[in-house]
């Protein structure tokens, strides 16, 4: 009561500010540390959660698509005769030659490919220890087809396998598909003649009219009809020839759509605990080795931005910190700058974590390639560097 009645003040105010020891205030300084190592690491790309999937082949890049439709047997009764079926896709993206034809093969999937562990290698190898088929897709059901489209075109893919369509509509909507009647289809590009990777909207696109749609024509008890089903699941797996991608070990490669991520290490850092007010990581793009050289977009990148991610001991992203950087131009060079004060604080207490992972913004949506100057760059101003603004405290 005494305290309150006197109108006491327990909030900080400037009274006595000049009585305090100078070191309490600290002196703000900045120091730049340069990267001491780097790597370009392949990373498993989880593509089932995106509103886009890819199909095609360009140079040594390949993308295989997987699609599955939910087909309730109530929609095409067993007594009905299926006459044809096709899929309509909405094109949205390309990597490679814009109007190149895209020949591909269609296979009937015979094992679940929904697992996030699915990779290009495992799908291409096409073996899986799972009865009854012991492979992902049935090569005896191969059908060849070709599409050619612009980035906003609709694409039609015919499904000639009437038996497969019949079985899709005969397994019911409940109960498990233990015999793998409906695991969908696998589309693989023809590696000999494809010159483009094309992106299509998936079922996760909010505009339902753009979602992949299966049309099944049939003749039923009351005449012909068409059953329309939206795709229930899709994903893609992709690859690139490592040797053709990593052509210069002095560069850090960040490849979207595969993905490759750049790992940058800083062995030297602040040696004493400090208060970090700001930490800016800067990397410089080598434009001549990046997407602008071979991607036929009006602009060199679909999205000219990078993420910087914190990593754990396994050099994989641990999700603790991330920062996004758009590009800026400095002396004619493209620079990416990341605000990483939180990460620098972590580095100051954990020397083993002084690494940062770079990956492309929306790396599942495109095949942008960023080639970043590494720590051995001839010019020090191109080298990856982190500038720490800090105060020393006693």
């Amino acid at each position: 009561m005494l305290c309150l009645s006197s109108g006491c003040n327990d909030a900080p105010d400037p009274i006595g500010v000049s009585t305090q020891p100078k070191w309490d205030y600290g002196v703000i300084r900045d120091t730049t540390f340069y990267a001491t190592g780097h790597a370009s690491l392949p990373n498993r790309l989880i593509t089932s959660s995106t509103d886009r999937f890819m199909l095609g082949k360009y140079q040594t890049y390949q993308a295989w698509a997987c699609m599955k439709f939910s087909c309730p047997d109530s929609m095409v009764k067993y007594s009905a005769t299926i006459t044809s079926g096709y899929i309509i896709l909405k094109s949205v993206y390309h990597f490679g030659r814009p109007m190149s034809v895209l020949p591909f093969e269609m296979y009937r999937a015979r094992a679940s490919w929904a697992n996030d562990l699915l990779t290009y290698d495992s799908l291409q190898l096409n073996t899986i220890a799972q009865s009854p088929y012991n492979y992902y897709y049935d090569i005896s059901t191969q059908y060849s087809s070709t599409i050619q489209a612009g980035d906003t075109d609709w694409v039609r893919i015919d499904i000639p396998d009437i038996t497969m369509l019949r079985e899709w509509h005969s397994i019911g909507t409940t109960g498990s598909d233990t015999l793998h009647y409906n695991d969908g289809i696998i589309l693989s590009p023809d590696p000999s003649s494809s010159d483009v990777i094309r992106g299509f909207y998936s079922s996760l696109i909010s505009d339902t009219s753009y979602q992949p749609t299966l049309y099944v024509n049939y003749i039923g008890d009351y005449g012909p009809g068409t059953c329309i089903n939206k795709v229930s699941n899709s994903k893609y797996v992709s690859t690139v020839n490592h040797a053709s991608l990593i052509t210069d070990n002095n560069l850090i490669y960040v490849q979207n759509g595969i993905s490759y991520r750049g790992l940058i290490a800083f062995d030297s850092f602040l040696t004493t605990p400090v208060l970090i007010h700001r930490a800016v990581l800067q990397v410089t793009l080598n434009a001549s080795k990046s997407s602008p050289q071979f991607n036929f977009f009006p602009t060199p990148f679909l999205h000219d931005s990078l993420f910087a991610l914190s990593v754990g001991a396994d050099s994989l992203s641990d999700g603790a910190f991330s920062a996004l950087s758009p590009s800026s131009i400095d002396s004619g060079r493209i620079i990416y700058s990341f605000e990483l004060a939180g990460l620098a604080n972590r580095w100051s207490v954990n020397s083993s974590a002084r690494k940062v992972l770079l990956n492309g913004y929306i790396e599942k949506y495109c095949f942008d390639l960023f080639a970043i100057y590494g720590e051995a760059s001839d010019s020090i101003k191109f080298r990856p560097r982190i500038t720490i603004t800090y105060s020393i405290k006693r």
Binding site: C8, V17, P21, H277, S391
Partner: protein
């Protein structure tokens, strides 16, 4: 309400009330161990903290353990102090308030004939309390940096004392003091430039260690000098040993980077002299001088601030009620004091001094028991050299009671 319960409730309230009130204080307490407190007892408090030569059965002398040797009944004291600081510097003024436990002490007579009394006490030794805001232009961020500094904590000691008397004129006492506590400074920093992160820094220094206080009071001056009129004059001396306390600094940077650093914090020798004269068994006059050589300590590596030697001079007066006083007002003790304290603070090259006036009353609550109320009003520091001046008001409310207070006497 039962009389005993009322007393117990009052005692518990005085002990627990300090836990309720807490706010700000003077920025000078940033230095050293903070504001060094000189409590002594609620009675001594009202006499400007004067009592080195006070030997009496009416209180537990926390300044000089020899002063306990006249205690005839088990006695305890507990007090609460409310502080108000009105501080001003060249930028403005503000008022801060805080409250806290002033001390808790028990004394147990073992041999009245020999003046052997044992005591145990818990007393604050120093207090840190401030909250400062600083806003300065920072060239690197090209923006204003705002920093807040919050200081808190302080040291306390647990004391185990023993007194004894020789020839009924020489009283000796000793007290083992276990000093402990922490001082904490919590800082926040932010910038007007949004690219710069807000940060925190939390530094706590923990202290622990022992000192020993020796005290003596001599009442035989009249015999020694063969000067009977000095019969009621006593001289006192106290010595507190110097020592190095264990200190550990814990620094937390941005709430995730913690460092620990060990060191030692020296506490200096403290020497005090006092005299007390009782006139006609009604009026007591006291004077103290205390010296502590803070300025000669080796630098405290964990927080190397500059301190200086301190000394404190004080005088006190107490009007003792006449025996058999028939009115309530006549049974009240009246006290006053004055102190000049050359504190151990030396800031911006200027020593910080303090002038203090005090007064108070001792209201009888029962046999050998008083509710002591003391008020201290002081001035500290200067606004020269960018320093600050504090107007200090301290109010103490304490119970000093003997075991008789808790006894229930049958009415005749």
């Amino acid at each position: 309400m039962n009389y005993f319960r009322m007393k117990a409730t009052l005692t518990v309230f005085i002990i627990l009330f300090p836990l309720i009130v807490y706010a700000g204080g003077s920025s000078y307490s940033r230095y050293g161990f903070g504001d060094i407190l000189r409590y002594g007892d609620s009675r001594i408090y009202a006499m400007g903290g004067t009592g080195i030569a006070l030997v009496d059965d009416g209180s537990i002398n926390l300044l000089n353990p020899a002063g306990m040797s006249r205690i005839g009944y088990t006695r305890f004291s507990a007090g609460f102090e409310y502080d108000s600081f009105s501080s001003k510097d060249n930028s403005g003024s503000s008022t801060y308030s805080m409250g806290g436990l002033q001390g808790l002490a028990f004394a147990f007579p073992i041999s009245r004939e020999n003046g052997i009394v044992m005591s145990i006490e818990a007393t604050p030794f120093s207090k840190v309390n401030y909250a400062i805001n600083s806003s300065n232009w920072d060239a690197l961020s090209e923006s204003i940096q705002h920093q807040n500094f919050y200081g808190s904590g302080g040291l306390s000691y647990l004391g185990l004392g023993l007194s004894g008397s020789l020839l009924n004129t020489l009283h000796l006492g000793g007290r083992l003091n276990y000093m402990y506590g922490r001082t904490r400074q919590y800082q926040t920093s932010s910038f007007d430039n949004g690219n710069y992160a807000s940060t925190t820094f939390d530094r706590t220094i923990y202290y622990s260690g022992f000192t020993f206080t020796f005290g003596a009071i001599y009442e035989g001056i009249d015999q020694l000098l063969d000067f009977p009129s000095l019969h009621n004059l006593s001289l006192g001396i106290t010595l507190r040993s110097a020592n190095s306390y264990d200190a550990k600094a814990e620094r937390i940077f941005a709430e995730n980077d913690t460092t620990n650093q060990k060191g030692t914090a020296d506490i200096p020798l403290s020497v005090g002299f006092g005299l007390s004269y009782l006139h006609q068994n009604r009026y007591r006059f006291l004077g103290d001088f205390l010296f502590e050589n803070w300025g000669n300590l080796k630098p405290f590596t964990l927080d190397p601030v500059t301190l200086r030697n301190s000394y404190r001079t004080s005088i006190g007066f107490e009007a003792i009620p006449e025996k058999g006083a028939d009115t309530f007002l006549k049974r009240i003790f009246y006290r006053a004091g004055f102190a000049y304290n050359s504190t151990y603070y030396k800031i911006n090259g200027v020593g910080i001094n303090e002038l203090l006036m005090s007064g108070g009353i001792g209201v009888p609550m029962g046999p050998e028991s008083w509710l002591n109320i003391g008020l201290q009003v002081g001035l500290r520091g200067t606004t020269d050299n960018n320093l600050q001046k504090d107007i200090i008001v301290r109010l103490s409310v304490a119970v000093s009671a003997s075991e008789l207070w808790f006894l229930k006497f049958d009415e005749e």
